[in-house]
Symmetry: C2
Subunit: 219 residues, 2 copies
């Protein structure tokens, strides 16, 4: 269901970093809401997110005007607006390919639904895993991806295979008409231009930690 554009996109090229920060704002705002807060200024939110207040106002300005001058932002409204901007005002149907350690951990992750994603299919090419039930889902053969995806109306695919099988998984997902892929496998993959592709590799972050420790020790 492509929702109508409910926000006014001021610019057609939004910094990638802005999107990542919007996700952070939502997370922090939801925490604040749980603590009973009602209204917040860009300055307070900035402090909680460890960014510059102007940064927040600029990020929001890409999508519209959500605040009240002299007052701040109504938290509940802002959360709703941001979710609409990010496209998570509805639940995205998702499948996972590669039921290894990481795949299992993700399937058992309770927060998916809470955050606007629902994993409705688990696939693997290992005959020993097919038929097994993981977190209420029956693991199916990767070859059935196309058939099942169409049946279920899947939009996003998550790859958690070993690196050498990531490209094949991607091919199956593309064939199945998926619109976007999140790849956890430490391997570059190629997809047609119309398919959105993102990588997650936590080792890169570990490297970053290691590097910064080394750096601080050399000072």
């Amino acid at each position: 269901m492509p929702n109508p554009r409910l926000f006014s996109l001021k610019s057609d090229s939004i910094p990638r970093a802005t999107i990542q920060r919007l996700a952070l704002y939502v997370q922090v705002l939801e925490d604040l809401q749980r603590e009973g807060a009602d209204v917040i200024s860009s300055e307070s939110l900035a402090k909680a997110c460890d960014v510059n207040p102007s940064q927040i106002r600029k990020d929001l300005a890409y999508f519209g005007k959500f605040g009240v001058r002299g007052v701040g932002y109504y938290i509940q409204d802002l959360i709703a607006s941001l979710k609409r901007c990010l496209g998570i005002d509805h639940t995205w149907k998702t499948v996972l390919v590669g039921v290894g350690n990481l795949g299992r951990a993700l399937l058992n992750h309770k927060e998916f639904k809470l955050r606007g994603f629902e994993v409705i299919g688990a696939f693997d090419c290992d005959p020993f895993k097919i038929g097994e039930e993981v977190s209420g889902l029956e693991v199916m053969c990767t070859k059935r991806l196309m058939e099942k995806s169409h049946e279920l109306g899947v939009e996003i695919g998550i790859i958690t295979t070993p690196p050498e099988r990531a490209q094949r998984a991607a091919n199956h997902l593309v064939e199945a008409g998926i619109k976007g892929i999140l790849n956890f496998a430490p391997a570059r993959i190629t997809v047609p231009e119309h398919v959105v592709l993102e990588y997650v590799d936590f080792f890169h972050h570990l490297y970053s930690v290691a590097f910064n420790i080394t750096l601080s020790q050399q000072k």
Copy 2:
């Protein structure tokens, strides 16, 4: 063991993005090496990493001169140099706090050692988990972190607790004299300035996928 500076840092402020890309270069170079390649030009490597060739040369220039004009880069040497630059020419001793689904998946992850990190301790505050063996490690009470960390010489801590317990885990790690933290919990945490802190939140990447799909559908 702080290693002596074996590379010449040309600038004291290296873009964060550069570090992330160096990690990517190592990954891709190791793949190429396995395929039998020996020498590579910045242009070919750029194609494999999906970045601009000048970008690669600039990234490397922060650390020194690793190539041969008219020839390219010797892959084996370049991998070694990059690892030294990133600080992963030795193995980092690591502990993990929070043995839930994600924690378990990470503990079972085979690639840690391969990539220069060794998880030598697993901690949790749940009495039911304490004593349990996960991937060859006995889960210990978080309160014993300090004692054990000093004993083992731990440098990096990984937090995989639920968000509400992330700050407490961080406090324990800081107390234990840890130098860097990688936080998987979806919660902002505060640490002293001398402690390196990085966040991993794959939901932010999922949001990014969702947003880009929404965007491409609105065009």
